[in-house]
Symmetry: C2
């Protein structure tokens, strides 16, 4: 299994490579295509990690865990239910989650498994889906809870989850993950708030990729957020959220500037 | 006013330029940045038009016309209500709208005004919004009506409108448009099905751009579909939909292969 990262070096150049312990073996070429090692090695501590890929879209699932569906009293969907988070919302490990200007309401964390697409796919079967998956990452599907139901008759999914900095992904992409035996753990300032087994997923990663590929072309680097389960909560100003998946790592993001320092909403 | 097109030449190279009558004056450089004429001129008839820009996202508004809001019995929204159509759904003038594999239900046309963003913007005022608008285009916001309400409690906006080929834009971008006095006209096989004045918009283009820029960064080439009004209808197999806006032009797309010739859904 390889663990891929993207980074900005101390000299401000962008790069990608494979993380080996505390060292990155740099690669050149196409992250999802033809690539080769450059021979350079960088200390992890010397670079700033970026989101581990640059998705053209994040497809974010709702209601994909049996425990949450039972709590909500909703039937298990036969096809993924989702919204699209735009590429403009993406941040990486240790980047700051920012409060939208003019929004003073609650902002929630949702720890999730992310699937990273490795090759373009359209109308692929469940059997064929696995080879289109490059790997897995951690996601914090940040949500401005207060705007979601602001208007009757139209739930504002894309708006509440699409703000800049609301798509935290990283710290890396693990090319293999035994998700059947792994869990998503979310910590708020070090205190565990979510812990759920990925085996409780309603639709598995290959099923999700196959079904979504019947809705739209999935492109290399595209990310699918597999949905969250129990334990979602709001993030106080200044708090840090960590999303941890064994075999992937820990994605950590702090919720930025205190409200008092923001300009007056217009 | 300039009329910008993107095209594939007979030699299969991609280009962009300004349409002058039946001739394209080719440009090189960045479509939304620094650019200069190449000196080459191509006959419009010799090229294949592409979508006039390559958006990172299409933000598609719902319920933005007073006449439709009145018919639906919905209050006028104070902020745009929208979903995001992924870049993978984009097609241009004369490209074929395709039926999704496995979906046998109704597919609808929605003729709309499109705003094309010219420069990155985030948190811009209404007054400042106009200079971030590059121009205007025609949109057919194609929709698989049957999947929208397939699951109770979650309206599948992104899915029903996000299929490949469901974001038809073009034929060109007009850098200026007196939208106050213009109308959107939609023809189905030459028969008028929609005709509505853009002055009936609830939120105007500068208001839309300003408000959306408070939700997310809008990038050069991004497209905002301003919502449709009365007269939406389904597209029979083999029919052609034209969306016409005076001062922009006519976007024409045929709804592709008859259902009978498609592979059996899996």
């Amino acid at each position: 299994m390889a663990r891929w990262v993207r980074f900005r070096s101390a000299a401000a150049s962008l790069g990608f490579g494979v993380l080996e312990g505390e060292t990155i073996a740099e690669y050149s070429g196409d992250q999802f295509g033809v690539q080769q090692p450059t021979g350079f090695r960088l200390a992890l501590a010397s670079v700033s990690l970026l989101a581990p890929c640059a998705p053209s879209k994040i497809v974010a699932l709702w209601n994909n865990f049996h425990a949450l569906a039972a709590k909500l009293g909703k039937p298990a969907p036969a096809h993924p239910l989702y919204l699209i988070k735009p590429s403009s919302c993406v941040i990486g490990h240790r980047h700051t989650i920012e409060r939208p200007l003019g929004y003073a309401g609650k902002i929630a964390f949702e720890g999730e498994l992310g699937i990273v697409i490795g090759r373009r796919c359209h109308n692929v079967s469940v059997e064929d889906a696995a080879r289109h998956i490059f790997g897995y990452t951690c996601i914090n599907d940040v949500t401005a809870i207060g705007v979601m139901n602001e208007y009757p008759d139209f739930v504002q999914w894309c708006r509440s989850k699409g703000y800049d900095t609301f798509g935290a992904i990283g710290p890396l992409i693990a090319t293999d993950l035994d998700w059947h035996s792994s869990s998503v753990v979310t910590l708020l300032d070090g205190v565990e708030r979510q812990r759920y087994a990925l085996s409780d997923m309603i639709l598995s990663p290959p099923e999700i990729v196959s079904r979504l590929s019947h809705d739209m072309s999935l492109l290399p680097g595209d990310v699918i957020a597999c949905g969250t389960s129990l334990g979602v909560g709001s993030i106080p100003e200044g708090s840090t959220v960590e999303v941890r998946i064994d075999g992937v790592g820990t994605l950590s993001n702090t919720f930025g500037a205190p409200l008092a320092t923001l300009p007056t909403p217009t």
